[in-house]
């Protein structure tokens, strides 16, 4: 069986000459249908750039990405965005502050020519636990957790197969993070979704993903399963360092 997402030797370089940044330097991984796959690493390690490259938001300068066995078209076509959607860390930055939630959710439907906007919007709001009462509110009238639910609703409204989640709970309080992670997990099971989840937090990735890839300086350090992580069976020093650091401070 081929994987739903196949990333091979992905490379992304920004700029040129002395300004050149090699953000991703040959990263490969596979994600199975229905699976949640994690990307973890320190800031600047290239995690977001991997997701953005898949979405056509960062220039692929090397490698290939196949989805459902087919190579991606550049630029990505509307069919791609019906299949793959992205959720960002900061819902404030990704939701238009002056548009009602109704408008935020209507726009992708209009762009893709859907006629049943009414039912889809109500269903998406139900799906993320907000309910229709939120439909005509503005983003500033919502809490951070509620805004992230709107961002998830917007990603779901086209009924994609794949969600690329970039630090979806990093800006949220722990109690709200728990609610959003539970929501994401339930949605994946209910709708058979496939996730690629980026986080700097090893505990979040371990909780959400059965397999994960550790990244550093734009490169893959190692891929391991949650079981291996829990057994502390990391093979690379950097992964071990992350594991130790995640346990908090130890007095000398």
């Amino acid at each position: 069986m081929t994987a739903l997402i196949e990333v091979r030797d992905l490379a992304v370089t920004f700029g040129s000459g002395r300004q050149q940044v090699r953000a991703v330097r040959g990263v490969s991984f596979d994600v199975e249908q229905g699976e949640s796959f994690g990307l973890v690493g320190e800031s600047g390690s290239g995690k977001s750039t991997v997701l953005r490259a898949i979405c056509g938001l960062a220039p692929m300068t090397g490698g290939t990405v196949h989805i459902g066995g087919k190579p991606l078209k550049t630029p990505r076509d509307p069919a791609f965005y019906q299949q793959v959607q992205m959720v960002f860390q900061d819902p404030y930055g990704s939701i238009h502050p002056r548009h009602t939630i109704d408008r935020v959710l209507s726009e992708p439907l209009a762009i893709h020519g859907f006629k049943d906007a009414e039912t889809r919007i109500e269903r998406a709001l139900e799906d993320v636990g907000l309910g229709r009462g939120f439909r005509f509110r503005y983003p500033h009238q919502l809490s951070g957790g509620q805004r992230q639910r709107v961002a998830i609703a917007r990603a779901l409204i086209l009924e994609p197969q794949i969600l690329l989640l970039d630090e979806p709970t990093s800006a949220l309080d722990a109690s709200i993070q728990a609610e959003v992670l539970n929501l994401l997990d339930a949605l994946r099971v209910d709708k058979g979704l496939t996730y690629v989840l980026v986080s700097h937090d090893l505990a979040v990735v371990s909780h959400m993903c059965r397999r994960l890839l550790v990244m550093q300086h734009g490169q893959a350090v190692e891929e391991l399963t949650r079981d291996a992580l829990q057994a502390r069976a990391a093979t690379k020093d950097y992964t071990r360092q992350l594991l130790v650091a995640s346990e908090g401070f130890k007095a000398p």
């Binding site: 800031s43 109690s175 609610e179 909780h207 992350l242 650091a245 908090g248 401070f249």
Partner: protein
């Protein structure tokens, strides 16, 4: 020994259309030469508590306290001159955002050197090498370049580290660190905590470590204040946190995902209106 900081019945309120909003409510605690954590969700009043202690409450806010003393000095009545002699050399606060603490028109190096010299009268060359060493200590890879750089030339994480270096080099008696490590990578986080730990152990600094990260705080601090809606709902030794009494403290601990946890849904927090009473 009396505690260096004594806070009793501290209140901070801001005006609003519906009358004053009390964002810090009857907060009382004392601090010796130890690491005290303040945890709680965003908006619970952690930063405003720290700011009130240093007299940095925004002008629209009103601060009242039954007692607010540092080293026996009544901070409620402190003159501008007293504040000048205290803030910086003796008590200092590292804020969440470097934008508010770094001077945009001065190089990082000069700011750190000045912070060091304000402390005593160190020779110029000595101050420079101390500054470079401190930049190295906060894991800045190219300290010479950062020394010469202006704040806007640094990334957020670098600026944060430069600011930490500046505060630490002054070796204040009391340091309030407000979410200083929240934006840092876990491995760098531990390096910064190590520096803070050394200052508490070796120099007897008093540290108030403000953070939303209960797990990190419990691994680092001696004692923890848990804030909810402006109040301290629980004060507990960090090592006893697992046996916390208040359901809010328990809830905050339990809702965190764990590397060794299973994939069952995370427990969520059910807020009880009685917590506000």
């Amino acid at each position: 020994m009396t505690d260096m900081l004594q806070v009793k019945g501290l209140n901070v309120a801001f005006p609003s259309r519906d009358g004053p909003v009390r964002v810090v409510r009857d907060v009382s605690f004392t601090l010796g030469r130890e690491r005290l954590g303040i945890v709680g969700e965003s908006g619970s009043g952690k930063s405003q508590t720290g700011r009130a202690i240093l007299g940095l409450t925004p002008a629209s806010g009103t601060v009242t306290a039954d007692r607010l003393t540092f080293d026996g000095i009544d901070l409620r009545k402190a003159s501008a001159r007293t504040w000048r002699s205290l803030r910086g050399p003796r008590m200092s606060m590292i804020m969440q955002d470097p934008k508010y603490s770094l001077n945009p028109v001065m190089t990082i190096g000069r700011q750190i050197v000045e912070a060091y010299r304000r402390r005593g009268n160190a020779a110029r060359g000595d101050a420079r090498s101390k500054a470079i060493a401190m930049l190295e200590a906060v894991q800045i890879r190219d300290p010479e370049r950062v020394f010469r750089a202006y704040p806007h030339e640094l990334s957020g994480g670098m600026g944060q580290r430069a600011m930490i270096a500046m505060m630490l080099i002054a070796e204040p008696d009391l340091l309030i660190a407000d979410e200083v490590t929240s934006a840092l990578d876990v491995t760098v986080q531990l390096d910064v905590l190590k520096i803070l730990d050394d200052l508490v152990r070796d120099r007897g600094m008093g540290l108030i470590f403000i953070s939303h990260d209960l797990r990190l705080v419990s691994s680092f601090c001696d004692r923890v204040l848990v804030m909810y809606a402006g109040r301290v709902v629980e004060q507990i030794a960090a090592r006893d946190l697992k046996n916390a009494q208040h359901p809010y403290t328990q809830g905050l601990l339990n809702c965190l995902p764990q590397i060794d946890g299973d994939s069952a849904p995370l427990p969520t927090l059910t807020r009880d209106p009685a917590w506000l009473a």
